[in-house]
Each structure stands twice: as structure tokens, then as C-alpha cells.
């Protein structure tokens, strides 16, 4: 699609869903192109919303140099799935309920979405979501990582995430004593 419209872009965005394209093309760091619904992109990503509003979207593929194609594919996939999913009822039940934690539990499809990701892909996606200002996707991916840690001992967590223990035995003992109030189970 060759639309050459250098300066009419601000105008273009104003005519919301009319005539013009309702998708945006994103380009990964390794040069692959992905199409995503403009509406979903603007709704789910503050950064893309800003680019769309500011007219800095390139029809030939907006460069996202920080995001690899696998992560970008997941981002786009998430946006599309999100656009298709029926938003669950009662976004916020009551403004003063204890359950109004800012975070809403992942929905079934969101769970499945992150569950199928490989370890590396999950972390790439966290960073992509962070970079693009995708609050919900960031929450869902961070939540997934927290679940991989939940209820596990430090040793088990180190194993899951390949964290290198760079403490000496003495240091570990020192910390345990210092924070005995947090290690009441030991």
C-alpha cells in the first residue's frame, strides 16, 4: 500500500475510523512487519497512542528498534485477542471495596496467552510491554512471573530463573539474623 501523505497525517488521525486505514504497521528490530488494529493499539499502549495522535506512525512500518520480531508478534497477538475478547463485567465494583486492588486478575485467555510463552519469550514480552507503555500486558506478564516465584524457597527461585547466588555462607547467615522477623518459619 503506497499512500504518500507526508503532512496530512494529523488531519488523517482526526477523521477517526473513516476512509483511512484502521490498522497500523509496526516494524520489529529485525525488520519484520506486523499489522495491528489502530484502535486496539491506541487503547492498550500509551506509547503507540501517543505516536498515533502525534502522527508519527509510518504506513510503511513504524520502527520499533527495541523490540524483536518474536516479542512484537506476541504484542500484536495480544492486542488482537484483546480487541476480540468481551470485556468482563463490572470493571470496578465499588470505589471503596477492599477488592479494588488496582490489579484485576488475568482473564482466562490472558492466562493461556502467557502460559504458552517460553521463559525467554515471557521476559522479552515484559520488556516490550514496558517499552510500549502497555499497562495491562505488563501487569499480566509480571503477574505470571510472580506466580513462578510464589511459595518457592530462595533455592527453588534461583533454579527457575537461573539466579546466581553470589553470597557467601556468612553473608546469608548474617541476613537471616538481621531479618529474623521475616524468617519466622525457619
Amino acid at each position: 500500500m503506497e499512500v504518500d501523505k507526508g503532512k496530512g497525517e494529523a488531519e488523517e488521525t482526526r477523521k477517526v475510523a473513516e476512509a483511512d486505514r484502521d490498522t497500523v504497521t509496526l516494524k520489529s528490530s529485525d525488520g519484520k512487519l506486523f499489522e495491528v488494529s489502530k484502535e486496539a493499539a491506541a487503547r492498550l499502549s500509551t506509547v503507540l497512542a501517543g505516536m498515533i495522535a502525534g502522527g508519527s506512525i509510518d504506513d510503511n512500518g513504524t520502527d520499533l528498534k527495541q523490540i524483536g520480531s518474536e516479542a512484537l508478534e506476541n504484542v500484536v497477538d495480544y492486542c488482537n485477542k484483546h480487541a476480540n475478547s468481551i470485556p468482563s463485567a463490572a470493571l470496578i465494583s465499588s470505589s471503596i471495596s477492599f477488592n479494588t486492588a488496582p490489579f484485576k486478575e488475568p482473564e482466562e485467555w490472558e492466562r493461556k496467552f502467557v502460559d504458552r510463552l517460553s521463559h525467554d519469550a515471557l521476559f522479552d514480552l515484559v520488556e516490550a510491554a514496558n517499552f510500549l507503555g502497555m499497562e495491562r500486558l505488563l501487569d499480566v506478564t509480571c503477574h505470571k512471573i510472580s506466580e513462578m516465584m510464589k511459595g518457592k524457597s530462595p533455592d527453588q527461585i534461583r533454579e527457575v530463573f537461573n539466579i546466581k547466588n553470589d553470597y557467601t555462607k556468612e553473608e546469608l547467615e548474617e541476613i537471616r539474623q538481621e531479618l529474623a522477623w521475616a524468617f519466622y518459619d525457619d
Partner: protein, 246 residues
């Protein structure tokens, strides 16, 4: 902090034996993302992540989220739980909460603070205020706190003074949600509503920096509530008062 590129400490340098040691992507994330991840874990586990590696040692201290829930300490009101074991768990809960607040880095800003204690047991009721207020010192220094939530299960054993103590300890808080605070009904100028009890004229609320007060109510007999809020609004001039009728 936004969009920080992956730091790649060591992970790219492969050991000489040719074995590629898998990368530690988690520790490589910026603090803000690690805090977001930790925010989903129970507070005791958040603190215990300090044992993982040097990277994690002080991370919990700067977390902008503090959420301490009695359930994470096994406190529940299941009938088979003996008083002795409940007491013991409560002591841990109290000790943990006080220490967490004490050792939390008070220079980093706090976005969310929550202590959840559904005290219903008669014996335990009196113990909450000292913990939650920590003698009014620990919470008071959190002057960056923007939002606090305290929920107290309906409990007639929690005295007026104790409730006052809880509120008073949060005097630097900007937003305060109070749930299920109750009071003796025969008190002069005292207006009881489902979720908050405000008292008139006795300096009950010391939250001078409150920016938002939310009041849920069922009825407003003789406009007493409106009158009270008018008084209240004058003593807390910066606060926005939201009234919600059921």
C-alpha cells in the same frame, strides 16, 4: 526507568568450558519492574527475596507497595484454631508488620499501603492499634504515602480510642479509605455510617493532609452528615470529599 534495555552482565560471557549458562533475565530487569512483580507476592516472601543474590538484597526495602495481610500469616478464624496458636500467629504478624515498616526505606515513595486484619476474636482486638500505628512513629514518617486502606471487621470491642489511634497515625496520608469503622450509637454529635465514623468537635481525625475522603452512607438523617462534612471540610481544607449513597 522506562524502556530500559536489557543489561547483560556476565550472561554474554560464556564460561571457557563452552557450556552456555542460561541467562538470568529476571535479575536483569529494572527495579521498577521487579517491584511490580513482587507486588503480587505475599509480604513475607517479598522480604525473603533478599536471600536470592546481592542484586536482591535491598530491593524489598524500596518497594513502593506495602501490603501486609493477616492471611499470609495463617491467621484465620477457623474454629479448630486454638487461641494459643492464633496468638502466636498474631504475634508474628505484628512483629513482621512493625519491622517491615521500620526497615523499609523511607526515602522511596510509597504508592500503596495496605494492612489487612479482620480481627474478630475478642482477645486479639486490642492488639491491632499498636501494630497499625506503631506508636505513631513509623507510619508518620511516610510522608510520601498517597493511599492507605485499613479495614477492620465489624467489631464492637475496638474502642473509640483505638479507632482514633488508627486514623491519627495516618495523619500525613493523602487518601484514606476506612471501612467498617463503627462506634457507640449514643454519642453526641456522632454520626454513624456504614463505612466511616466521623466525630464532631473532638479532633478525632488528624489527617491534616488528606486530599480525598470517601464516605459511603445509607441514610442521612436530618442532614447531619452534610453538616458534619461541612465542619470536616473546614478543618481539612485541601480534601476532596466524595459522598456516595447506597
Amino acid at each position: 526507568m522506562k524502556g530500559v534495555a536489557k543489561m547483560q552482565p556476565e550472561t554474554t560471557k560464556k564460561p571457557a568450558d563452552g557450556l552456555t549458562s542460561p541467562a538470568d533475565w529476571l535479575s536483569a530487569l529494572p527495579d521498577a519492574l521487579l517491584h511490580a512483580i513482587l507486588s503480587f507476592l505475599p509480604a513475607p516472601q517479598v522480604v525473603r527475596t533478599c536471600l536470592l543474590s546481592q542484586r536482591w538484597r535491598h530491593l524489598w526495602r524500596s518497594s513502593p507497595y506495602i501490603k501486609i495481610n493477616e492471611q499470609d500469616f495463617g491467621i484465620s478464624l477457623r474454629p479448630q484454631m486454638t487461641h494459643a496458636s492464633l496468638d502466636e500467629k498474631w504475634a508474628r504478624f505484628e512483629d513482621f508488620a512493625a519491622n517491615l515498616l521500620l526497615f523499609h526505606d523511607n526515602t522511596s515513595s510509597l504508592d500503596e499501603f495496605l494492612v489487612c486484619a479482620q480481627i474478630q476474636s475478642y482477645d486479639l482486638a486490642f492488639k491491632l492499634p499498636p501494630m497499625a500505628s506503631s506508636n505513631g512513629i513509623v507510619l508518620a514518617k511516610m510522608d510520601s504515602l498517597v493511599e492507605a486502606m485499613i479495614e477492620i471487621a465489624e467489631n464492637e470491642t475496638l474502642s473509640q480510642n483505638a479507632q482514633r489511634g488508627l486514623l491519627g497515625s495516618l495523619y500525613l496520608t493523602w487518601i484514606l479509605y476506612c471501612q467498617k469503622f463503627i462506634s457507640a450509637p449514643d454519642y453526641e454529635w456522632e454520626i454513624e455510617r456504614k463505612n466511616i465514623t466521623l466525630q464532631r468537635g473532638r479532633g478525632t481525625l488528624h489527617c491534616r493532609q488528606l486530599k480525598l475522603i470517601e464516605v459511603l452512607y445509607e441514610h442521612d438523617h436530618d442532614h447531619q452528615l452534610i453538616e458534619l462534612l461541612w465542619w470536616f471540610g473546614r478543618s481539612v481544607p485541601d480534601a476532596i470529599i466524595n459522598l456516595t449513597k447506597f
